[in-house]
Subunit: 339 residues, 2 copies
């Protein structure tokens, strides 16, 4: 039996019985990657703020299969189907891609939105086989709109699929910035343990040695060890705890794109290194290059890295504006909602 | 009296008298920057290939003022107004920006397209004053669509103007590639002389010394010294001569974005350095990063530059696909043309 998360605090096994049009978000993470959790949180905030006439209903990924027939039975013409964004379209995470195919190829009569994603099908046998399956599934839905969160992904989606592709920032950049004015005292390494990791351990060790001389240094990942799962009801508290952690740091060293986003939101200096296919680099270049207190690098030379960090730490916060760039998503939903 | 360039080979002082809908392209360059000339050529090819029902009429920039009242008198509801693309929206080239304002604020009842551009208003008094004038002019046209040719410009246009913004590659990437299999023997430096130049002379000298040992080295600019002007009738021959020049080189060293594009089209290894506001860097990252025989760098270290060049020179050509990424432009025109 599927759980439906309705209006942030309600979880039910049945869909609400009212006249409001529904916005169904499938594939919502229950795993503890705070980047993906922040995406899911921002998606809810976005729809609830910008399209308040819609009732927003989340389905966590494990419940997708059980929820599909229930949603099918209740579906009305103005309802919108969506699949959560993040950074996992492609063949690196088979489970997510399979769930996406199933949702896209099922609800073919309603506007279906693949929320802002990066995409990477590897140039090997698995990549080619998975790409073919996705092409077949996506092509069944004439009402499917793909949203790319960086220009590299925009271009790749257009080369891979026949569906229309629109271009917006990562959803977490829709969240408001915070300025809690905590005393900052520390350097935080936020590093991957997964298959996307490419930054060399020797580079990390060198940077750590540099910082060790002046600041308390800690290492974490944006994937939490506990709790073991997160639901739409518990995630906002954990998201705020994450922003609080960042707000206490002098600098963040990371290879996680969302650690850079949390740094932007909290005004925390941040140096981002690459992952296996450049998703952070491209999103940085596209939306955040003019934000003074963050930077991206592929550099391995310790002296050059030191200079980059020194210049970041002394930067002053300034205003930035990314929200206007959700315009193509807004237009896509508005046109459908008003028809 | 204005000249109207019709069907590539005809120039007339009057507009054609027939039932075909018209596509008017204003601001077409007569100056000898081959990048801007290639843009104008590609714009014509694009509309003539993709929307053959439209009759394509070009107005060179000097004739804009004289042509405006003539076009106004003849304008029909299905006609489309456009202003040529390139890399000059902003306050660096007052004359182009003034011409753009005049066209956009005049033809407010028809679809008006600002063809793919990069944008840069400087962060100074002139930049602020010019930006305000453009905001006022552009806001008068509810049917104006801006097209950005890189993600940085997409984001900047959205922060600067209230008009819808779409995202496509530079128009020259619509041109077909060529493979003339000439013997390659030379290194060509294609370098700016204008205000956008930032690459250091010492860096150029170092690279030149490296190459001098092995190859005949020449320096040119994509801005030709002669002829003194170019018209829509003479430009295709000059464009082909430019591709021929590139096709004879082993490597191109440049700070001109369109020199990189000509290198892509001709399969010529190319290393691109930055300009004053990153337009080449961003366009490279967005559309061409996966093309093996070209690269972008801000590097000043001669040894590192040497390695980059060595790896470019041995790359094999491969296929690439940018044309699918004109989709948003195609949709914009199709929706209007079919209404």
């Amino acid at each position: 039996m599927a759980n439906f998360y309705i209006d942030t605090i309600t979880v039910a096994h049945e869909l609400p019985n009212n006249d409001r049009p529904k916005f169904y978000m499938f594939g919502v993470p229950s795993y503890t990657n705070m980047g993906d959790q922040a995406v899911a949180l921002a998606e809810r905030k976005y729809i609830e703020n910008e399209f308040p006439e819609y009732q927003y209903i989340e389905i966590i990924e494990e419940d997708d299969d059980a929820a599909i027939p229930v949603v099918q039975k209740n579906l009305q013409p103005r309802d919108i189907i969506a699949f959560t964004g993040g950074g996992n379209m492609g063949n690196l995470y088979h489970n997510h891609e399979e769930a996406r195919r199933k949702v896209f190829s099922t609800f073919t009569d309603n506007l279906t939105i693949s929320f802002p994603q990066s995409i990477h099908f590897e140039d090997n046998e698995d990549g080619a086989a998975e790409k073919k399956k996705s092409q077949e599934a996506y092509s069944k839905n004439p009402n499917l709109v793909l949203v790319a969160r960086d220009a590299q992904s925009f271009h790749r989606m257009q080369r891979t699929f026949r569906n229309p592709v629109i271009f917006t920032p990562d959803m977490v950049l829709y969240m408001n910035s915070v300025d809690w004015k905590f005393k900052r005292n520390g350097a935080l390494f936020v590093l991957r343990h997964d298959t996307e990791k490419v930054v060399k351990q020797s580079t990390i060790d060198n940077v750590k040695n540099l910082l060790d001389e002046t600041l308390p240094v800690e290492r974490v990942d944006t994937v939490l060890d506990e709790p073991s799962t997160i639901t739409p009801i518990t995630r906002e508290t954990l998201y705020e705890a994450e922003l609080e952690l960042f707000s206490h740091q002098n600098i963040i060293i990371t290879d996680r794109w969302h650690a850079m986003v949390f740094s932007v939101l909290t005004g925390t200096p941040c140096l981002l290194f690459g992952n296996s296919y450049g998703k952070g680099k491209h999103a940085y270049m596209d939306w955040l290059e003019y934000v003074n207190w963050i930077d991206y690098t592929d550099e391995e030379d310790t002296e050059r890295i030191k200079k980059l960090m020194q210049s970041l730490i002394v930067q002053k916060r300034h205003s930035y504006d990314v929200k206007r760039s959700f315009q193509q998503l807004r237009d896509t939903i508005s046109h459908y909602a008003e028809d």
